[in-house]
Symmetry: C2
């Protein structure tokens, strides 16, 4: 059995077959699993890369039936039952779980892919952090480079990632100016959060959406709704209305897409967002030995609901577990089962002591209660015990307002030192 | 007052003047201080970058008289009393401390600068780690790429950095094979430690040197003495004897040098290793307002000893403190004092429970006692309280043999995935 991808779905599939009488190879281009829901914290210097990443080999070290292969998948040959890798080698499989995830989706917006910073991989988060911190240092050193005397940060997309990033950015700016003595005018440094729709956090209940917007505004985030972006350049964004917003950094939280070549290379239909069309049991049509799970899969809702399940961590975990279990059932000669997503709720944090947690049953939790629920859930799901301790120490530190924090610019290339002007 | 460099010497100089009635700008191309003695741990995946780095702004956050400037110094104009930065701006000074450090010294050995990996900056350590882990993954995926079925790691230089790196590499290989199930033949994976001289750890007493050599050999490090290197290529090293050692990674721990242009740009003489010649009080001849401290300075021994003080952290700290104090004395109209280095001892660790600590008075500590002394000293000197806790957690983890650890390959470019063969 081969599992493509060590994200939430791939790990869940591997866990479902760990210790069972089946040889498993899990292949990923990174040698670590990334806890994506906290990437925005790495990007805003609240956590270190190692806090949200965990080596795949360590996770399955005690299961002799699971081995890891560091490699980039370039294609799947369904007839030959082989996965092709970029180094020219092939992995033969009898059962396959495709959990290769998605990438940032730019929806054809001009210049977005070249000039906006996505936030989907750990390398994305590191690069974004280096750019943000580098431009704060540049603004301190050469304020004359900035028209308004200070940089503007634009976040595109008002879903959970965008809301969390905007909230964390204002907290970072506060620390930068208040503690780090960066000479940037707080009145002139702006964080702008753009969304094409008429509210933030689509999918949440109206009172949760209003709460998020109100908290962000009270923390000086410039929330702009019904403001679709038409172009991103290296110096800012243009809205469909024609308005131009000069920006030092543009963060792309506008959604994800699945590389269309995956579905077509499998000879399968793609559905919304480039996702691969799968059957009720998550298998490919005509290939009961191949399952697709997580962000890459177009998973139909069960219970007669229309459309597809959202590309969220809980869907990825549940679908990966389901795929792993179906593999075991097939081996045991048992019939396949349909997948049904159990929605336990959704949550988003806005910053210190402010979050919304909307459980499937019960009220919407807000403020400190919402934040504590968010904190507890994320710590429970953080994959490794060591990471959990380090993250708790880091958060406790921040929360107790002690003056430290990993605000390091560690880049393979220099950031902002020789800049003639702001980006 | 301007301080160039936020290494041990620059920080010590800034600490000496912190809270005094003098305006200080500390300028560095990195926004963090690096605890260089532990870089080899980052390179061998024992610690994370943030564990050994600390933001300069945080260190001096509570001293209003010290500000940080993120910039790369390109020159000093002694007559105009200005420091030039790469972004075209200038910092005027009335007093200057030059603590700009050194870089890896290749001593003209062919190919060394292009093909060997130095270990002087945090970026060096990250790159070395990514190369080491990437080549272990490549050896697991494609053992046929390696002539001997496994990679060889060569460390050039048998001083403390080389000894510590070689010792940590064998521990990393042990973890990689035993826990991470990397399919690499332990009998064929080699760590080779080369030194041109006839013993390791020159400067230590004979029994300490013999102990280090014996422990490394017992841990399967191939220690080669009297083995000067004549060439480094992208596939190995050639010894002066003509012998060729094929290597996947060559670590350069062969010493440091000061960029010769520093001394000449100051119109000063350079002495051994390119260091700037300074007077007994560490000031430049004819420029009592300019001090040089740390690795960049050719600091004469006091007490009638010949030669220069070694380029070690304690010398950097003491000379930086001295330079800062002389600045204060000058302001107070007091005469300059000569610098005298107080040698409290030297130490090097070889791995778990094995180190040598040679105090100036008393016996040489070895084994577990040496290791505990080494551990305690390094923790005391780690600059930030938060880092200290994180490092203790990490080390406790490793020591108690729990299976985790930050063995992440986080590179801005992919490492080893598409390689046609070993480097």
């Amino acid at each position: 059995m081969v599992i493509i991808g060590a994200g939430f779905a791939g790990l869940a599939a591997a866990r479902a077959v760990a210790g069972k009488p089946i040889e498993v190879v899990i292949v990923d281009q990174h040698n670590f699993h990334t806890f994506q829901p906290l990437l925005y914290q790495v990007a805003t210097a609240g956590l270190e890369p190692a806090d949200v990443a965990y080596p795949v080999r360590t996770i399955f070290g005690r299961y002799p039936n699971i081995i890891f292969r560091h490699g980039r998948v370039t294609g799947v040959d369904l007839e030959a039952r082989e996965v092709a890798l970029s180094d020219g080698s092939h992995l033969a499989y009898d059962q396959l779980v495709i959990a290769s995830g998605a990438t940032a989706g730019y929806f054809g917006i001009r210049g977005a892919s070249a000039n906006a910073r996505p936030l989907y991989t750990l390398a994305d988060a590191r690069r974004l952090r280096n750019q943000v911190l580098g431009c704060l240092e540049a603004a301190d050193a050469r304020p004359e480079d900035y028209d308004d005397g200070a940089p503007t940060f634009v976040v595109v997309g008002g879903g959970p990632t965008g809301v969390e990033t905007a909230g964390a950015l204002v907290e970072l700016l506060d620390v930068a100016m208040r503690r780090d003595k960066l000479r940037i005018d707080p009145e002139r440094t702006r964080v702008v959060l753009l969304d094409a729709g008429d509210s933030l956090l689509t999918g949440f209940k109206p009172n949760a959406r209003r709460y998020a917007e109100q908290i962000l505004r009270s923390r000086r985030v410039d929330v702009r709704l019904s403001a679709p972006v038409s172009e991103v350049t290296d110096s800012g964004v243009r809205l469909s209305s024609g308005e131009w917003i000069k920006a030092a950094v543009v963060v792309w939280a506008g959604g994800v897409t699945v590389d269309g070549t995956l579905a077509s290379s499998l000879g399968m239909k793609s559905c919304a967002g480039g996702r691969v069309e799968v059957g009720a049991d998550l298998s490919l049509e005509g290939h009961p030995e191949v399952y697709v799970a997580g962000d890459a899969a177009g998973i139909p809702w069960s219970h007669g609901l229309k459309g597809l399940c959202p590309q969220l961590a809980p869907v990825a975990i549940q679908s990966g577990t389901h795929a792993g279990r179906q593999v075991l059932r097939r081996l045991a000669g048992e019939p396949a089962q349909p997948f049904a997503y159990h929605d336990k709720g959704i949550m988003a944090t806005i910053g210190r002591r402010a979050a919304v947690a909307q459980l499937r049953k019960g009220p919407v939790l807000r403020g400190t209660f919402g934040w504590l629920a968010w904190l507890a859930l994320h710590l429970v799901y953080l994959v490794g015990f060591r990471n959990r301790i380090v993250v708790i120490v880091n958060w406790a530190w921040r929360y107790l307002d002690w003056p430290s924090g990993p605000r390091l610019i560690v880049a393979d290339v220099d950031v902002g030192l020789d800049a003639e002007g702001p980006p």
